[in-house]
């Protein structure tokens, strides 16, 4: 955490998606930094490599991984880690991030961010994997909470305590996805404020935000909707409790006119500056 505390505050950024490419350059003053999906630039062809160079020359970048699979008992895929390290070396970011989940089991990629049981054993697995990552990549790693549709009966603690233990064991900061937190709180009927009471908020380095999406009786993280007031409320509360270094709007689909994106970034900036 000590290294993270020295990291500079980046402000309000946007998760880079190709359809945004022209708009981000037309609206540069509105975007403090970009979060790139790290996996898109592994084994990059010439076009993606040029895109990466273009973005890196013009914006502060934060690589965000999908597949470190920090919760896999079988450990980290070394080839994947090596590619991630090369990307981080090229980009020289303030930090990089991935999820508290597993995406591989028994050598098979399951193509999904799968939740972990909230157990001491899972904490130990994540801690061991994070240590391996930290041995290869010196840049601070921060860890993101995910959404889940089931809670394991074998869980020994709640999610807040689980995250707290992981932070304590690894020294990593948190990438708190306020949308994921809100979705989980709605789907599993818990109070997100109590969740915030239970985590070390001083460890929250960055947040993700976007609207939730209703699918039947459940909310899901489709990343396709405008951020709703309830999520802005979570965002506002997190800003009150932490010294955030960055907030990223994470929109993956149903892209609106870019003016709407800019308006959300402005709203986030206002909240960060006034709380």
């Amino acid at each position: 955490m000590s290294t993270l505390l020295q990291s500079k505050t980046l402000g309000v950024g946007l998760g880079f998606r190709e359809p945004f490419r022209s708009d981000i350059f037309l609206n540069r003053t509105e975007i403090d930094f970009l979060e790139i999906t790290a996996d898109h630039y592994f084994d990059a062809n010439e076009a993606k490599q040029k895109e990466l160079e273009l973005l890196n020359e013009n914006f502060e970048l934060i690589p965000h991984g999908l597949d470190l699979s920090l919760g896999s008992a079988e450990g980290i895929d070394e080839e994947y880690l090596e590619k991630f390290a090369e990307l981080v070396e090229f980009v020289q970011p303030e930090w990089f991030s991935d999820h508290i989940c597993f995406t591989r089991a028994g050598g098979t990629n399951i193509g999904h961010l799968a939740p972990l049981p909230f157990t001491r054993e899972a904490v130990a697995v994540v801690a061991a994997n994070v240590k391996k990552v930290q041995r290869v990549i010196e840049t601070p790693l921060i860890l993101e909470n995910i959404t889940y549709l089931v809670r394991f009966p074998s869980s020994e603690m709640d999610e807040a305590e689980f995250l707290t233990r992981i932070v304590s064991e690894t020294g990593c900061g948190l990438l708190l996805d306020v949308t994921n937190l809100y979705i989980n709180s709605q789907n599993f009927a818990f109070d997100w404020r109590r969740f915030l009471d239970g985590i070390p908020t001083e460890s929250v380095v960055q947040v993700h935000f976007v609207g939730s999406h209703r699918n039947g009786k459940r909310l899901i993280d489709a990343h396709s909707d405008k951020t709703e007031e309830e999520i802005w409320e979570v965002f506002r509360e997190v800003c009150k409790r932490t010294e955030l270094k960055g907030a990223v709007l994470e929109r993956d689909g149903n892209f609106p006119p870019f003016d709407e994106i800019v308006n959300e970034l402005r709203q986030a900036r206002t909240i960060m500056q006034t709380n």
Partner: protein
Amino acid sequence: MDLLFENPIAQMYGPYFLAVYAVFILGVVIVLAIAKRLIDRTDRLPSPAIPHKIDPYEIAFLRGGINELARSVVFSLVQNKVLEVSNSGKDSFISRSKDQVAGNLRNIEKITLDWFGETRNAKDIFGKSGLVVQLKSFADVYATSLEQRQLLTSDESAAGFSMFKWIGILSIAAAGGYKMIAALMNGRFNITFLVILGVIGVIAARYVSKLPRMTKLGNAYLERLQLAFGELKVRATRESAAVGQQMPSAQTTFAGVDPLLLSVGVFGGSILAGTMYDSYNKAFERSQAVSASSCGASCGSCSDAGSCSGGSSCSSGCGSGCGGGCGGCGS
């Protein structure tokens, strides 16, 4: 005098001399090509950041000189419905719109609009008393700025390289000329191959020593711009839909730039083919031949010092460099 024409070179068997001469020409051409590469070291510089405030006219000027600058300003006025294009037979005419409301125009746009006080043939834009002459002062400002940022080959670089170029060309001409005089003095007149080789050598030397208008950094920057705004081009042209639809007014983003005008600046007017601005595109397609013939190959290179960045005068023609001597085989 004896030594001048009685030495191994002067008396060398013709075909042998041709071989030596060819190697010499090749050497000069290679040296010039290397020198041209070395004079532009801008590939070592980091590519400039894309500015927060983008000027489509500056990008158009970078890409294609004063002709492209003129085209993009005219497009801006067409887009703002201040000018209108009509195609008639083989000619395209541009005139002020009857119900024009000029609005907030930049100086460069005002001067352009003034030039269209009467209906003009599109090809006249690039003529000797054309719009490009009126825009020269704006082009000079852009040229200075782009040269300072090392995106365009500066006049200083071109002047510096010009000395190398002429040393190379004159050395080829002098070697051939010397051998030709030696052959003629020895009463040998079968100098055809020597003349041909000499002319080819001079042309080759001139060709390889043409400095490109844009530096390597300039090319990299333009490539970056085209990558950054590739999506914009697709979207802007799609939103401009088909011919015959109501033309929308120019838009501005938060950055105060109209996406379609920026696309024209970055990619050129040909992106407008099939859109509601098709008549504009056709007008300049027709005038392309005229502007190209009056300005070399679209102003892609500068062959002489002092004519690089202006864009409109980049082809200075062969001129004096072709007349070098050609020696005889002297067998």
